[in-house]
Amino acid sequence: MILQAIAFWVFASITVAAAVMVISAKNPVHSVLFLILAFFNAAGLFVLLGAEFLAMILIVVYVGAVAVLFLFVVMMLDINFAELRQGFLQYLPIGLLVGLVLLVELAVVVGGWVISTDATARATAKMPAVDQVPNTDALGQLIFTHYLYLFQGAGLVLLVAMIGAIVLTHRSRPGVRKQNISDQLARDPKETIEIRKVQSGSGI
């Protein structure tokens, strides 16, 4: 399919280009926007793979929620990023060296890659047949049955993250008056308002 091939190359090249821009853009807000672009195109690649559920979740969760908060924070930061980058050239050779070593190691590992016999069969053993079940159903069947334990565990990890964020940042400031709506609604006019007849000229 030539159309799919074109779509793939478009999505893939934009993803890579956007990813490069994320780390090279001068303005941090631009970086985040490029990150969003990269996510978006990655979702496009998922669609091409036939994993439309993952594609949509990627957009809803990462682009629609996580990156928004990220952008939110970055926009409000008042950091001179040019200053932060000053040591960049100084450390560049070391960074390049480490990167090169890792790259060579990867090349050695991947270059002679062997996969044990019937690894694919083992990996796909639990999956429902692709041609019979839509991939949304298939994901549900895996996550909520075989991987129930991991699903619940991930929930606990998120709970801890939430508690942690609150513990480390929440401060109850003294002297703040908060609106208590239930108190307001529970007020009885009879107890709070007194209606008196005022004689003209005398006052209360």
């Binding site: 991947v110 083992r122 639990k126 129930l148 565990g153 942690g164």
Partner: protein, 494 residues
């Protein structure tokens, strides 16, 4: 629609129970507004942790695997879980006074400790690389938070941040290793992995697999703070609030060490030839660094950090012996030595940190070794107890620490790892220097002022229990020895 059967929940009851009680305690803390809330939550958390011990023992009946092979419980898991639960419970008890005095007593602390222990139990019971990772993350995330629990102190915040950044890096390395293993084998389940590697046994294992194992070992070595992945330890130990340090020094180490043993002996058991030399190397490096770097320390928490690095080095000797090709008995002896060592290490460390928590003058916490000067005159009981722990850490017979090292070195010699055993003995001689220096400061230097009194009942009981265990271990060592033997048998099915 074919749906998998509902998993058997019984083997995981302790974990489910802890998760539910953590959530209930959280609710209790959030919704009750009384002044005693923090204390109540704290006591209930300790109770919850201790109650999980009989639960763990009761539900385990031989080897039980559930959740589609993701979760396993056996006598090995029970042994390690008991150690973890005891040390986490003790950490909460020790923390209560300290947190109140530092004005950071909040009910989230015990809840986070319970959640961290849950993560440790999940690590110990992992039977799959994915559940391993999830337990590890649950544990680490909770620990990162409590490391910076004293959030107004820059040191504590730095400790949390440093731990977090380096921990995230280690997790990344671990995950990378796992993905290499998965790429080779097509499975993450320990049992299936063991089968796969049994099948390739004899031939030279593939480079990708070796790199994967190396990365997994690196990730786990970070969690047990073995050299060369120890850099975070001194700073985090020093910066974190002292009871948190006490927890760090014991519970996560035990959990990670148990996990280390399960992963290396289980799925990678047939590749022992590949990983044994790595373990030997990090063991020697840890022992050496623990011995030499601690000599110049003046802060007792930093000293304990290096001491724990050294102790992890000794414990890893057991693991190295477990990779021996001599015989199954020798391998079992290595694991058994490791387990005994961990139990003794736990008691010694809890006791020592209880003493450190009592170093307080006019309400101010002290951390310098010099501050201990003249303790033998101002508080002879505490000086004696601390001296016992220090002698034990140095491995002086007949205290418990000696037996820990004895079983480890014996296993190493059986496994023909003579050099390792000799280096271990030499390292403990060097390490004895700084343990004995503390005793010298306490008994022979002149006193400045007394430490604050009175000592709370909780602290007293912890000191008495740990002290008695350490001193009298040689009279009745059977519970630990038999427990370790039973636990080891689970890893080496006949």
């Amino acid at each position: 629609m074919p749906v998998a059967a509902f998993p058997d929940l019984i083997p995981a009851i302790p974990e489910i129970y802890l998760a539910v009680s953590a959530m209930i305690l959280l609710m209790l803390g959030v919704y009750s507004t009384g002044k005693q809330t923090v204390r109540t939550v704290s006591y209930l958390s300790t109770a919850a942790l201790f109650f999980a011990i009989p639960l763990t023992v009761m539900v385990t009946d031989g080897r039980m695997v559930t959740f589609g092979g993701l979760f396993v419980t056996d006598s090995f898991a029970v042994y390690a879980k008991i150690l973890v639960l005891v040390s986490a419970g003790a950490a909460i008890v020790m923390a209560q006074d300290y947190l109140e005095r530092q004005d950071i007593a909040r009910f989230e602390f015990p809840v986070l400790v319970v959640l961290a222990s849950l993560g440790m139990l999940m690590m110990i019971s992992a039977n799959d690389l994915m559940s391993l990772y999830l337990g590890l993350e649950l544990q680490s995330l909770a620990l990162y938070v409590i490391a910076s629990f004293q959030r107004d102190s820059i040191r504590s915040a730095e400790a949390g941040l440093k731990y977090f950044v380096l921990g995230a890096l280690a997790s990344g390395i671990l995950l990378y290793g796992m993905s290499l293993i998965y790429g080779f084998a097509g499975t993450t389940n320990f049992d299936s992995l063991a089968e796969v590697f049994k099948a390739v046994n004899g031939t030279e294992p593939h480079l990708g697999v070796i790199v994967g194992i190396v990365f997994i070992i690196a990730g786990l070595a970070f969690k047990v703070s073995a050299v060369p992945f120890h850099m975070w330890t001194p700073d985090v130990y020093e910066g974190a609030p002292t009871p948190v340090t006490a927890l760090f020094a014991v519970a996560p180490k035990i959990a990670a060490m148990a996990l280390f043993a399960r992963v290396l002996v289980g799925p990678f058991g047939d590749l022992a030839g590949e990983w044994q030399q790595i373990i030997i190397f990090i063991s020697i490096a840890s022992m050496a660094l623990g011995a030499f770097a601690a000599i110049n320390q003046n802060n007792i928490k930093r000293l304990m950090a290096y001491s724990s690095i050294g102790h992890m080095g000794y414990a890893l000797i057991g693991l190295a012996a477990a990779g021996s090709a001599v015989s199954a008995e020798v391998r079992a002896a290595g694991i058994q030595g490791l387990l005994i060592y961990l139990a003794i290490y736990m008691f010694m460390n809890i006791g020592t940190f209880a003493c450190i928590l009592l170093m307080r003058r006019q309400g101010r916490m002290l951390e310098g070794i010099d501050d201990l000067a003249g303790l033998s005159k101002s508080n002879p009981v505490m000086a004696m107890v601390l001296a016992v722990f220090m002698f034990s850490m140095a491995g002086i017979p007949p205290l418990a620490g000696f037996f820990g090292k004895f079983y480890i070195f014996a296993a190493a010699i059986e496994a023909d790892l003579f050099a390792l055993a000799i280096i271990g003995v030499l390292a403990s001689v060097v390490a004895a220097f700084y343990y004995l220096r503390i005793i010298k400061v306490m008994y022979f230097d002149s006193s400045e002022e007394e430490f604050d009194r009175p000592v709370s009942r909780d602290m007293k009981s912890i000191l008495v229990i740990t002290g008695v265990v350490v001193i009298l271990f040689f009279i009745y060592p059977d519970p630990v020895l038999n427990g370790a033997e039973l636990a080891t048998s689970a890893l080496f099915p006949q």
